[in-house]
């Protein structure tokens, strides 16, 4: 696991991924006893996994809201379903000045859509706390000498910020201290008016600050001094980090000398409001040396590791738990488990891990314990071993890496139930598919406004085709019927034309007309195209129509004779007799065919 990887995970996943149970919690720290009227007290607002900032409440019952500052921020990583997610926790301190005695309750407040609990607190009439600002006994110079009347701030009061290490390693704890130096012997209600900015570092607020002024020699001058703020910060990235100091305000007791007619030289103290800001500090954060030599980094600090199996018995395909405990001092939020999925044997499937941090913020470091509860599932029965798990730590004080191992565990896995028996057939295909055609409008065809046309148009075309077809059929049968009815007339007309040729003795033309008449009549009557007419189908068709066979024979004989005369020699042909036979046959055929049969 690389720190950079974690950082991008933190920055992006925390915004993309709401994680472990977002919550808002209020609590009133009881350190320092019950505040009296005029005392400063705090309400802490702890946000778990919420990126929104709490709004500073306009009023708090019984007290005046001074302001709100961020007190600490930390993040934790969790491994569920094989990979990492991260969560964050931020605490804000709401600084209040008690104004009216009584018992009050505050909350619930809403941050980022989550509701907090309600807290109650009591304000006593008089303060039971020790005054915050007495000078240390036996060290104060003569108060009547007092400070000189210089302008507010300046050399008579200043804040000095310092860090324990200006060139820390990534994730190394750095103590940021803000110390107040003053020549005033009394300071009242000294509070910060905003939070310091630590860039991209995570931090914890230490309560190890001074509650009373001590003396210190600084740059050759004696001052009253007190540590007013202490933070332990962890840089998350190498490079330059600028720590911007925040403003503080309070009132100082300014002594005025005057002469009283009766008592002589006197001095009186008048409180005056001052503001001050410490210097900014730049940290030059170094990368961890030789990090590429190690496969992983599990923490920065001084730690001890131990492992224990929480489950006593093991069954195939049933989840079991084990615990890794890491104790020590350093950036506890950065401590993580090695890649257990890779180190466990293939028959033990790593499922998820949950971590808990318990920490104690001291004067120069954060101590505590991180517990990882790991859930795993043995895949089948048998005897398996969890090998020693190696943890890679970096000790920033010694600038050295050190490797700690847990002991190995031997597991005897018994027979499990039948559930999840064929899980091993499920595989994950991590190939990517080519994107193909990208569009933002995925229309359903079936609901398209013109979809019905796909049905309507073919039906319309079909109906059209049927109409056209039936009209054509009707038309053709009309024509056929017409022709059939007129067949006789047409034939007689043709025969008359032939008769005309009789007179002109034009034999070829006569037979032309005669044959045309005969074949034409047969074609019309039988509804067969003239080119398809043969003696056979004529005979068949006429026989079907009920024409007696002797008439048929006469017809065929006549046709033979005419064709012989036409295509052969017309000599010996009896034109007139052929003509009369033709007329007679046609008359007879008309009668024979037109008589309704069935």
């Amino acid at each position: 696991m690389k720190p950079r990887h974690i950082l991008t995970l933190l920055l992006l996943l925390v915004s993309v991924l709401p994680a472990l149970g977002q919550s808002v919690r209020l609590n009133v720290p009881s350190a320092g006893g019950t505040p009296g009227v005029g005392d400063i007290f705090y309400i802490y607002i702890t946000l778990h996994d919420i990126s929104a900032q709490p709004a500073q409440p306009a009023s708090v019952p019984g007290a005046k809201v001074m302001y709100m500052q961020q007190r600490s921020s930390s993040s934790q990583t969790t491994i569920i379903n094989g990979v990492q997610t991260s969560t964050s926790e931020t605490t804000y301190a709401l600084t209040l000045r008690a104004e009216k005695a009584g018992t009050y309750s505050f909350g619930p407040i809403s941050v980022g859509g989550h509701r907090s609990n309600r807290v109650s607190y009591t304000i006593a009439q008089t303060s039971s706390r020790q005054s915050q600002t007495q000078p240390a006994p036996g060290s104060a110079p003569n108060p009547s000498a007092g400070p000189t009347l210089t302008k507010v701030g300046g050399n008579d009061l200043f804040l000095r910020a310092s860090v324990s290490e200006a060139n820390p390693y990534e994730q190394q704890g750095v103590v940021y201290t803000v110390k107040l130096y003053t020549t005033y012997s009394q300071i009242f209600n000294w509070i910060a008016t905003n939070s310091p900015s630590f860039g991209n570092c995570t931090f914890d607020t230490s309560d190890d600050t001074d509650h009373a002024l001590g003396t210190e020699n600084y740059n050759g001058k004696t001052y009253y001094s007190a540590v007013i703020a202490r933070y332990i910060i962890y840089p998350t990235q190498s490079g330059e980090v600028k720590i911007v100091g925040n403003s503080y305000t309070g009132s100082v007791g300014r002594t005025y000398a005057y002469t009283d007619p009766y008592f002589g030289h006197m001095s009186k103290m008048v409180p005056e409001q001052v503001e001050a800001r410490p210097n900014d500090i730049t940290l030059h954060v170094r990368k961890l040396p030789g990090q590429t030599d190690y496969p992983d980094i599990n923490g920065v600090g001084t730690f001890k590791v131990s492992a224990a199996m929480l489950s006593k018995s093991f069954k195939a395909r049933q989840p079991a738990k084990m615990r890794f405990t890491i104790t020590g001092s350093g950036n506890l939020g950065f401590v993580s488990l090695p890649d257990l999925a890779a180190q466990f044997p293939p028959e033990i499937k790593f499922l998820k891990s949950e971590d808990k941090i318990q920490k104690n913020v001291g004067a120069s470091s954060v101590n505590g314990t991180v517990t990882f509860d790991v859930t795993f599932i043995p895949q089948k029965e048998g005897s398996f071993e969890i090998p020693p798990i190696k943890f890679y730590f970096f000790d920033p004080a010694a600038s050295k890496w050190y490797i700690l191992s847990t002991q190995e565990f031997k597991l005897k896995v018994g027979e499990g139930s039948a559930a999840h028996a064929d899980d091993n057939s499920l595989t994950f295909d991590d190939q990517l598919q080519p994107l193909g055609h990208l569009t933002s409008a995925h229309a359903f065809i079936v609901s398209g406004s013109l979809f019905w046309l796909w049905y309507a148009v073919p039906v319309a075309l079909l109906i059209l085709a049927v109409i056209i077809y039936s009209k054509r059929v009707a038309r053709l049968s009309d024509i056929a019927m017409l022709r059939r009815r007129k067949a006789g007339k047409v034939a007689r007309r043709r025969l008359r034309a032939a008769r005309a040729c009789l007179g002109s003795k034009d034999a070829s033309r006569f037979y032309d007309e005669l044959l045309k008449g005969l074949w034409g009549y047969l074609s019309d009557k039988l509804d067969i195209p003239a080119s398809d007419l043969t003696r056979d189908n004529v005979r068949d068709a006429l026989a079907t129509a009920g024409v007696p066979s002797d008439l048929l024979d006469r017809l065929i004989t006549l046709i033979d004779e005419c064709e012989f005369a036409k295509y052969g020699s017309a000599a010996g042909a009896d034109l007139k007799s052929n003509y009369e036979t033709a007329c007679d046959i046609i008359d007879k055929l008309e009668t024979a065919i037109n008589t309704p049969k069935h």
Partner: protein, 273 residues
């Protein structure tokens, strides 16, 4: 004229010949994914989604990237979206099963020795029929319906315009079958569409959450915590006094309760209507 045609033909041949050697450069997100920078791959894919639109393969790639990055909730959500657009995306279906199995294992590990089973309730008869219908997309059913209708028209033509008993029999019975099938395919298409539009499947996006018995932050928890990636059916919503929206979720008879609406996300493909 011939000259021009020859030129065009030559150009086409050249293009076709060159096509196999023209390979698209691997996209940025592919490189990030192969390098193991899954967060970056997710970001690039989301950007492509916002700028150019979506496809089944895009949602599948997002699902894979989220899965490798450790977000099973977003992975399940995206695999489901991929299947809404293309139910035939076999890889999406199998990866979805794999991820859901991991989620199920995580849920079971929370149960301990209680008598609870965080498996989804079995499908009712109508639900399994609808599931069967949705193995093809609504559009596939619509196209099938139109094709069958064309076949029906063809059979009608056979019946109406041709003589010959065999042909007319084929036309009549074939036409009848085709018409019935076409109607069925049309019904499946509209059913599939209305199912997708009435989508009430929600995926848990929080890494762990416990269902509550009523829509209040201090309500009693129902059963054990559930892991990110668990799929529910939304059975109701309610707005609380302070403005937060709560959804009622159903997994099975043991696991049914309320969660803030921000904890889950309903499967909805943008632009599908």
């Amino acid at each position: 004229m011939k000259h021009i045609v020859l030129h065009i033909a030559a150009l086409l041949l050249l293009f076709i010949g060159a096509a196999p050697t023209l390979k698209a450069a691997p996209a940025d997100y592919e490189q990030a994914y192969k390098k193991g920078d899954y967060i970056q791959a997710v970001e690039l894919l989301q950007r492509t989604l916002a700028e150019q639109g979506s496809s089944s393969a895009l949602f599948y790639d997002l699902g894979n990237a989220y899965s490798k990055a450790g977000n099973p909730g977003a992975a399940v959500l995206n695999y489901e979206k991929a299947l809404r657009l293309d139910p035939g995306n076999a890889a999406a279906r199998s990866n979805l099963h794999y991820t859901e199995n991991m989620v199920q294992l995580a849920n079971e590990s929370e149960v301990g020795d209680r008598n609870l089973d965080p498996a989804p309730a079995p499908l009712s008869f109508t639900d399994s029929i609808r599931a069967g219908i949705s193995t093809f997309s609504s559009n596939a059913w619509a196209v099938t319906s139109v094709m069958l209708f064309f076949l029906f028209i063809g059979c009608a033509v056979l019946y109406l315009f041709f003589s010959g008993v065999a042909l007319r029999k084929v036309g009549f019975f074939g036409g009848g079958i085709c018409l019935v099938l076409s109607l069925a395919a049309y019904c499946f298409s509209t059913l599939s569409r209305s199912d997708i539009l009435a989508e009430q499947t929600a995926v848990l996006m929080q890494s762990q959450a416990t269902l509550l018995s009523s829509p209040q932050a201090d309500a009693k928890p129902v059963a054990m915590p559930l892991s990110s990636g668990t799929k529910f059916k939304v059975t109701g919503t309610q707005k609380a006094d302070d403005g937060t929206v709560w959804t009622r979720l159903y997994l099975n008879s043991d696991y049914t309760g309320w969660l803030p609406a921000s904890y889950v996300e309903i499967v909805r493909v943008p632009g599908l209507k």
